[in-house]
C-alpha cells in the first residue's frame, strides 16, 4: 500500500512540475494545487498507513494509527486552500489589469516599469 501511494505521489509531483513550468498562469496555479495534494498525501503515507484501529482509547484495541499526521494534513489543507483561492483572485485581477496570463510577458524589464 505504501509503495502504491509513493508512486501516486510521484505522479502528482511530476504533473505539478510539468504544469508549473508552463507559461500560462492558470496551469501554474493548478500545478501548485497538485503539488500541495502530493505533499499532503506524503504526510499521510509517512505516518504509516492503517497500522491499527481508530485512535480512541478502549480495552479491545491493541494498536492505534497515528493521529498526528491527519491533524497536520488538516492544517496544511486549510492553508493551501486559502492561499490558492487568494492566488486565483489575484490571477484574475492581474489578467484584467495587465491584459495577459502569459508569464513570459510579465517579465520585469530593466527599468522595472
Amino acid at each position: 500500500m505504501e509503495l502504491l501511494m509513493a508512486i501516486v505521489i510521484g505522479i502528482l509531483f511530476m504533473c505539478a512540475t510539468y504544469l508549473m513550468l508552463s507559461k500560462s498562469m492558470l496551469r501554474i496555479i493548478i500545478g501548485t494545487g497538485l503539488l500541495s495534494h502530493g505533499a499532503h498525501l506524503l504526510i499521510l503515507t509517512m505516518g504509516g498507513l492503517k497500522g491499527g484501529s481508530v485512535p480512541l482509547l478502549s480495552d479491545e484495541t491493541a494498536s492505534y494509527v497515528d493521529p498526528l499526521p491527519q491533524a497536520l494534513i488538516l492544517t496544511a489543507i486549510v492553508i493551501s486552500f486559502g492561499v490558492t483561492s487568494f492566488l486565483l483572485v489575484l490571477a484574475y485581477r492581474s489578467y484584467q489589469e495587465l491584459g495577459t496570463d502569459d508569464m513570459e510577458e510579465m517579465r520585469g524589464t530593466e527599468t522595472n516599469e
Binding site: 508549473m20 498562469m25 501554474i28 501548485t32 503539488l35 500541495s36 502530493g38 505533499a39 499532503h40 506524503l42 504526510i43 503515507t45 509517512m46 505516518g47 504509516g48 498526528l68 499526521p69 497536520l72 492544517t75 496544511a76 492553508i79 493551501s80 486559502g82 492561499v83 490558492t84 487568494f86 492566488l87 489575484l90 490571477a91 485581477r93 492581474s94 489589469e97 495587465l98 510579465m106 520585469g108 522595472n112 516599469e113
Partner: protein
C-alpha cells in the same frame, strides 16, 4: 509555564482584530496601532529581561506538556529578535502615517500590518516545527496582502511571482516535515534534537537538513534561491518594502539558526561546509548587484542579500565568536536596513525618481536627512564605533579561529563594496548641484525623518553600548552552542 511567552503574539492579534472593526476611522486606527506598538515594545522588553533573569521560558499551549502539545519557547535569541521586530514595527508605523496614503489606510493596511507582526513574532517564539510552518504561512499571507495592496500593475505582476515562489517553498516545507516525522516520529524541536543526537545524524538526516536549507534559503534569499527578491521587494511602497527587507528575510535566517544549531549540528563537515559556500556565493552575488545599479532601491535591496550572506557565513563557522557576531549583525542589520529604506523613501519622494543620476544636492536643503543617511550608511558598512563593526569583527575572528581565510577575505572585501555602494548614494544624491524642483511642499520631511532617526539612534547606541548588550548576546549563544540547555528547558528533564 509562563503566559508572558506568548503575549508578543497574542497582543498584535487582538489589536489586528480590533482594527478590522474600525477600518473606516483612520485617525482612530493610527492611534490604536501606535498605542499597541508601544505596548508591544514594553512586553517584549519585559520578555527579554525575564529570559535574562530566569533562563528559557516555555509555555505548553492548552496546558499540553511538551512533547505532546505545541510548545512556545522564548530563549534569548528569540526574545531579542522579537524586541527588535517590535521596535522596527513602531518606526515603520510612524513613517506610514505620512507616506502610505489614505486609500491604503482605508483598505486594511493597519490590521494586516499587525497580522504580519503576529507571523514574525510567532515564528521566532515557536518550539514546534509544524507550528513554525503555520506561523510562516500567517506571515506570508499578510505579506501577500501588503505586497498587492494598492493594485498597481507592477505590484500585481510581482505579487504573482512572489506568491508562486512561496507556495512552492511552503510545499517543500510540508514535504520536509513529513520526511522528518517519518524518520524521528516527533515535531517538537527539542525532542527532534534529542533524537538526532541519539542516532548521531545518519545520512538521511543530513539530506533532510539540506532540504530544510532549501525551504529557509528561499525565504532568506541565499545564493541560488534569491532571484525572486530584487523584483518582488521593488514593487510595494516604501514602508512595506522596509517591513519586508527588515523582517521577512530575517525570519528565514532565524530558522536556519535554529535548525542548524539545535538539530542538524552533528555532521558539520557536510552541512556547515555547504552552508559556508552558499553564504560566500550569496555575498558575491549581492555585491555585484549592489555596485551595478543606479537605482537606489535596487542598491539597498542587494545590500539585504549581502547581509544575509554575512550572517549565514557566521552560522556556518559555528563557534562562539562567529555565532555572537552573527546575532549582533542580525539585530544591527534589521535596524539599519529599515532605517535605510525609510531614508531613501524620503529621497525618492523629494526627487520624484529613484535613479541616482536624476538626483543631487539634497544636502543643501536637507542637512539632517543627509547626515542621518551618512551615519546609517557607515554603520551598514561596519565602521567603528557603529553597530555593524562589532558583529563583523566577531564573525571574522571566529572564521580566523577555524582557519577559513577565504571566507574572511570575502567578508572583508564585501564591507568595502558595501561602503562603496552606499557612498555612491551619498555622493550622487546629496552632493553636487541641486536639481530644480524638489517637491518639498508635498513631503513632510521632518515628520518622515523622525522614525528613521529613532532607528539610527538605536543602532548607534547598540554599537556604542555593545559591551552592555554582550551579556544578552552571550546568553543567546550559550543556548545555541549547548542544545542541552534548550532541551532541558523544554522537556523539563
Amino acid at each position: 509555564m509562563n503566559n508572558l511567552t506568548f503575549l508578543p503574539v497574542l497582543w498584535p492579534l487582538f489589536t489586528g482584530i480590533l482594527l478590522i472593526f474600525i477600518a473606516k476611522r483612520i485617525k482612530l486606527q493610527r492611534w490604536v496601532s501606535l498605542f499597541s506598538s508601544l505596548i508591544g515594545i514594553v512586553l517584549s522588553m519585559y520578555l527579554v529581561f525575564s529570559v535574562h533573569s530566569q533562563g528559557i521560558l516555555t509555555l505548553g499551549v492548552g496546558s499540553w506538556e511538551a512533547p505532546f502539545g505545541i510548545v512556545i519557547v522564548a530563549d534569548m535569541l528569540a526574545s531579542l529578535l522579537v524586541l527588535t521586530t517590535n521596535i522596527i514595527g513602531l518606526a515603520i508605523l510612524l513613517y506610514s502615517f505620512h507616506s502610505i496614503g489614505i486609500e491604503r489606510e482605508r483598505h486594511y493596511y493597519y490590521p494586516v500590518f499587525q497580522f504580519l507582526l503576529i507571523g514574525v513574532n510567532g515564528a521566532f517564539l515557536t518550539g514546534d516545527l509544524f507550528n513554525l510552518f503555520v506561523f510562516f504561512e500567517v506571515m506570508l499571507m499578510a505579506s501577500y496582502v501588503l505586497l498587492v495592496l494598492g493594485g498597481t500593475k507592477i505590484q500585481l505582476r510581482e505579487s504573482l511571482k512572489y506568491i508562486i515562489v512561496n507556495v512552492l517553498s511552503s510545499s517543500f516545507f510540508v514535504i520536509m516535515v513529513a520526511y522528518l516525522y517519518s524518520v524521528l516520529g516527533t515535531l517538537n524541536m527539542a525532542q527532534i534534537s534529542q533524537r538526532i543526537a541519539e542516532v548521531n545524524q545518519p545520512a538521511i538526516l543530513s539530506v533532510i537538513a539540506i532540504g530544510f536549507l532549501i525551504v529557509f534559503g528561499l525565504k532568506g534569499a541565499i545564493f541560488p534561491l534569491f532571484q525572486w527578491l530584487p523584483g518582488s521587494y521593488y514593487a510595494p511602497p516604501i514602508p512595506v518594502m522596509a517591513l519586508f527587507g527588515a523582517l521577512l528575510t530575517k525570519v528565514g535566517i532565524y530558522s536556519i539558526f535554529r535548525t542548524y544549531t539545535l538539530m542538524f549540528y552533528h555532521d558539520q563537515g557536510y552541512t556547515h561546509t555547504f552552508l559556508a559556500w552558499l553564504a560566500l556565493l550569496t555575498i558575491l552575488i549581492g555585491v555585484i548587484g549592489a555596485i551595478a545599479y543606479w537605482d537606489i532601491k535596487k542598491i539597498i535591496i542587494y545590500n539585504i542579500i549581502i547581509a544575509v550572506g554575512v550572517i549565514i557565513f557566521g552560522i556556518s563557522v559555528m563557534n562562539e565568536q562567529a555565532l555572537s557576531g552573527s546575532i549582533l549583525y542580525l539585530i544591527h542589520d534589521m535596524l539599519i536596513k529599515a532605517a535605510l529604506f525609510l531614508l531613501i523613501g524620503i529621497m525618492i519622494k523629494l526627487c520624484g525618481s529613484d535613479d541616482l543620476r536624476q538626483m543631487g544636492g539634497l544636502i543643501k536643503q536637507y542637512p539632517a536627512l543627509a547626515w542621518t543617511f551618512f551615519i546609517a550608511a557607515i554603520s551598514l558598512a561596519g565602521i567603528p564605533p557603529f553597530s555593524g563593526f562589532a558583529g563583523k569583527l566577531l564573525i571574522l575572528q571566529g572564521a580566523g579561529e577555524s582557519g577559513n581565510f577565504l571566507g574572511m577575505a570575502i567578508v572583508l572585501l564585501s564591507s568595502l563594496m558595501v561602503l562603496y555602494s552606499v557612498m555612491k548614494i551619498f555622493m550622487y544624491g546629496f552632493w553636487g548641484t541641486p536639481k530644480a524642483g524638489y517637491r518639498s511642499a508635498a513631503v513632510p520631511v521632518n515628520k518622515m525623518l523622525i522614525p528613521a532617526v529613532i532607528l539610527v539612534a538605536i543602532s548607534v547606541l547598540f554599537g556604542v553600548a555593545t559591551e552592555f548588550m554582550y551579556p544578552f548576546i552571550s546568553q543567546a549563544v550559550e543556548t545555541l552552542l549547548n542544545p542541552d540547555i534548550y532541551i532541558k528547558a523544554v522537556l523539563k528533564e
